[in-house]
Symmetry: C2
Subunit: 298 residues, 2 copies
């Protein structure tokens, strides 16, 4: 059977999913990444993925028809490897997945945020759309853009680094050098700095704000203002049919959506009353694995 496999190699977890030719989920599995460990001379995450393929080949009685892999960093032009990932996942840069997994047809390697958007296009909040923005709000702020019905990769595969737009000419500089980047204004990586070391998760910040901590509430108000300004910027540049929000911070629920909608009432350009729907990602942590296997738009 020509089933396909999508793998999402993340910093802490490896997620893998197998799909039938009709796109039905046949099996899903999550493993620890063990970044930094090595097994038989290769990174532990590579060994885990090789074993997984062997096991699934036995399980399904044949080799998969197609394997796609999503990972952080910028993919090489030939999509056989991640070319640039300077910060972590030692050994990932230049790792040739097709050769390592002995796949004659190769393994298509995608940026993880790009894959997440493809997953949402295939089976989630962007089904049937041609222009969409996905913004993931978590430790960092990532994203991807669907433009004219195709994933926007750009000249060197960096398109969609939505966390790195400037909202303050002299603000704190992001890991990609952007002053006042939205990642520095709402990402959890910047929360200790923004709260004088009091909080390192949005959940804790919001619990304090709910209990009447005015300083915590003020930090959250500023985060939402920054998010709204970022979203209207994306809208004015990209004019998407929808803005999809994913990532751990969206677990804030109405504490996020309600003030965000209020800000957008003020800030969004709505020609002829047209407003862009802001919706929640549907696939959660599985979007990247699904997108790596997606038969669409690659």
């Amino acid at each position: 059977m020509a089933y396909s496999i999508g793998i999402d190699l993340g910093g802490t977890q490896i997620k893998a999913a197998a799909f039938s030719p009709d796109g039905d989920v046949l099996h899903r599995e999550t493993s620890p990444t063990r970044d930094g460990d090595r097994v038989d001379g290769v990174p532990a995450w590579a060994d885990t993925i090789r074993r997984l393929l062997t096991t699934w080949t036995t399980r399904f009685g044949s080799e998969p028809g197609r394997v796609g892999l999503a990972a952080p960093g910028l993919p090489a032009k030939d999509a056989r490897s991640i070319q640039s990932m300077p910060e972590r996942m030692d050994g990932l840069e230049g790792f040739d997945w097709g050769r390592f997994l002995e796949r004659a047809d190769g393994v298509e390697v995608l940026n993880d945020a790009h894959a997440a958007l493809l997953g949402e296009v295939w089976k989630g909040a962007a089904r049937g759309l041609t222009d969409a923005v996905l913004l993931t709000l978590g430790t960092g702020v990532g994203g991807a853009v669907l433009a004219n019905g195709r994933l926007l990769r750009g000249a060197i595969g960096r398109a969609g680094h939505l966390g790195h737009i400037s909202l303050d000419l002299h603000g704190p500089v992001s890991i990609l050098r952007t002053p006042g980047a939205i990642e520095e204004l709402i990402g959890e990586c910047s929360l200790p700095t923004r709260t004088g070391g009091r909080f390192d998760t949005t959940r804790a910040l919001l619990a304090a704000a709910e209990s009447g901590d005015a300083a915590a509430a003020e930090v959250w108000v500023r985060s939402i203002r920054a998010l709204a300004c970022a979203i209207v910027s994306y809208i004015n540049v990209l004019d998407p049919e929808v803005v999809i929000l994913g990532g751990g911070i969206t677990e804030a629920g109405e504490l996020l959506w309600h003030p965000l909608e209020q800000e957008l009432e003020q800030l969004e350009w709505r020609p002829g009353g047209h407003r862009v729907p802001i919706v929640r990602a549907e696939l959660g942590g599985w979007a990247g694995a699904y997108g790596a296997a997606a038969p669409v738009l690659a």
Copy 2:
């Protein structure tokens, strides 16, 4: 002969150009827009364009094979008219150009900034590229995006409103409601406000700065910082092969390019040393008329 005509209907001037099937310029003409005047019951600009077509039909011995028209505002989905242009050019909204000019095949109506990018793709600084950003720096700040080899129009035709990204959460609000929009930080429309009424052109501001006026120099430094932050934001989101700058402010020459390059040295993410070329638009005021006639990418 199946020549084609591109018309750029601007706020002060109408520019029209005729092209041979090979794309050679056969003729160009500039007329005043006379916004607000009426002739024979129609806006003066419509009458001027109708007369121009009649004259050129006589000149070339046949009707043009194709007519395209660029104008400010958002085109309708069917591209027969400008659907939304609330601020000026009374009568332009909903004006059906194909019917008015009695063209059986219709007249394709484009947003003027979109047309300018198509012109640069056809015969200017974006020839042969698939991913490009055009930014026009003048009274306002406009732009357009080429993504995956196609003009990015977006869901309702507003894509490329690059002047309306936020660079200050609490800055002055643009005509499209964006706080701290780059248009408010470098556009000439905002120069009187930014200089306490002392200057209303970049040329005058720079002349004063060159003569040792420290306050004028400081305003310019801030403008360039804002422009650099905007450009790195576009780069991180869109990952273009090139950023093309056009509009009157680029006449500042090295007074613009030199400090801009210095800022980008600091602010641009350059993975593997890759830097995005920032180049000047090549077609000047003719980009829109050329793009309206461009046989590509429509």
